[in-house]
């Protein structure tokens, strides 16, 4: 502190004055890694009782019985993976298509406006998607889309069974909408970074505009597209409210899109504050640990794919 005052009056003693502000900053910045470690550590310790009671069998166990205190994660893990897969199957190709349209087809002004609208998809709160899904999407699925799919594609196990409306399909559809902006913005950024000269070179060689997209733009933007898709997966895995409102909340494993299910995030949201025993709570925390682990791996992979962009920073 003395050094700081002296620096103001006389010649700057850079070393000391700077060291002070530097250490303050380091201290404040270190909060972030500490928090991140804290999350992992808390989930690990908080789930100790469940891990001791069920071991690795927790992952594959499919009973969830708070009365007899027998817990298994499989229905929830399955629901999380299934809804994420549905969302991904829809959001990845659609997102890339939107990015191609915005980057290669739309004029600048259209790109700015439509791009803004797509970003708006990421701004709508999850609970609002859930509300809309319950009131608008679910009845439509139950009365129109699911019977139609069942009639025409019913030979696939995916489209068998009664049409509930709520279920994997409803949750997956809304999830797709919610994670799409992540695919679009990353893919768009990567496509815009491809030099115009490369496109022109392709055109000059006689390629059509689509061939330029297919053979020049998409390969060059591969990393960004992959990273965007993985970010979207990470989001879809952990998304809570919209899914909780649309999936039907039944811990059952089914190959049918029409069936109700449950996800890791949903059961934590529904049951955590009502969990009565220590083992019950620890089991829910272990579900959180699984979810944390899944998203961590996916996000790290996304970060590696997007690295060339971040490495310059």
């Amino acid at each position: 502190m003395q050094a700081g005052a002296a620096a103001r009056r006389e010649r700057p003693k850079r070393r000391e004055g700077d060291a002070g502000s530097g250490w303050l900053l380091r201290g404040l910045a270190a909060v972030v890694p500490l928090l991140t470690l804290g999350v992992g550590a808390q989930l690990y310790w908080g789930s100790a009782a469940a891990r001791r009671a069920f071991g690795w069998g927790f992952l594959t166990g499919s009973t969830w019985d708070p009365v007899f205190e027998h817990f298994g994660a499989w229905p929830f893990l399955f629901g999380t993976l299934f809804t994420t897969a549905v969302a991904l199957v829809l959001a990845a190709p659609l997102g890339v298509a939107v990015a191609i349209f915005l980057s290669e087809v739309a004029p600048r002004r259209v790109r700015v406006w439509l791009g803004g609208l797509v970003e708006l998809l990421a701004v709508v709160p999850s609970v609002v998607y859930g509300l809309w899904g319950m009131v608008v999407l679910v009845p439509w699925l139950r009365q129109t889309l699911e019977p139609w799919l069942g009639a025409h594609l019913g030979w696939l196990p995916l489209f068998q069974g009664p049409a509930y409306g709520v279920g994997f399909l409803a949750a997956g559809l809304v999830l797709a909408l919610m994670v799409l902006p992540f695919v679009v913005s990353m893919a768009l950024e990567a496509m815009r970074a491809v030099p115009v000269a490369q496109r022109e070179a392709g055109l000059a060689l006689g390629a059509t505009r689509w061939e330029v997209v297919q053979h020049i733009v998409l390969p060059a933007a591969r990393g960004g597209i992959g990273g965007g898709v993985l970010l979207a997966v990470g989001r879809a895995l952990g998304e809570t409210m919209a899914v909780t409102m649309l999936i039907g909340n039944r811990p059952a494993v089914s190959a049918s899109l029409f069936a109700p299910g449950y996800t890791l995030a949903s059961i934590i949201a529904n049951e955590f504050t009502e969990a009565t025993s220590a083992l019950y709570t620890a089991s829910l925390v272990e579900l959180g640990l699984i979810l944390f682990g899944l998203t961590l791996v996916v996000n790290l992979a996304a970060r590696m794919l997007l690295k060339p962009r971040g490495a310059a920073a």
């Binding site: 900053l25 909060v31 972030v32 890694p33 609208l117 609002v128 952990g238 409102m245 998203t295």
Partner: protein
Amino acid sequence: MRRRRYLSRLLLAATGVCTLAVLTPLVMILYRVAREGAGALNWTFLTHLPTPPGESGGGMGNAVVGTLEMLAVALAVGLPLGLAGALYTAELGRERLAGVVRFAADVLTGVPTIVTGLFVYALVVVPMRRFSALAGGLALAMILLPITLRAGEEALRAVPASYREAALALGASRGRMWRGVLLPAARRGLIAAALLGVMRTAGETAPLLLTSLNNSQWNLRLGRPMASLTVQIYTYATGPYDDWHQQAWAAALLLLLLVGGLAVVARWWSGRGEAA
């Protein structure tokens, strides 16, 4: 050749159709929220307490106040930390710790918010032995912090190195240069970063379910459970009464106006920052 050109047209047109297909549900959602919400969004809604289940009337005044108060807590805690982190990673970015901070911020951004809720539950709710607005605000702060940090870092990096060099050449210490030159120069971008953080946080529900819970009464005290717009939407949407659904739409509209307004302002600020 003609076939190839035809195919090219067709596929590029298909991407346009995809774009429309994606934007249709968005427009449907916005339209629905506006139509249903506008009917129920009135003065009573903004100033009255919720009525007991089954009774019609009432509003969500306490939830409006609750959401704003918890966002204020999130800003008060998350913003200084986020900006300090941004300054650190932007200015002392070569240090090993800076890489760790960046990495941790990215990981933290990716943590599902329900998991953030679990963490804050163990950290705040359990020791206090009570759900509280403080816990809710801290959970929101944890979500806001890494977003602001990374966006703020980018804003600071956008300031030309010559500004820093000029200040240092005039004999300013590094701290003086940060305060006097760098931060003012990046002001717009930093405000946009803060707005982005608030925007992403305002619509959060899941962590609040585990931290601030809900409250049917007026409450300003941080140590008590507190109502919020998002939790109230969830409760009302999943409830059985038509009147509740109406109010859920109104709350959704209010929330969208808040978040959408912030998005527009953020875009405008950062856009102007680029132009300047």
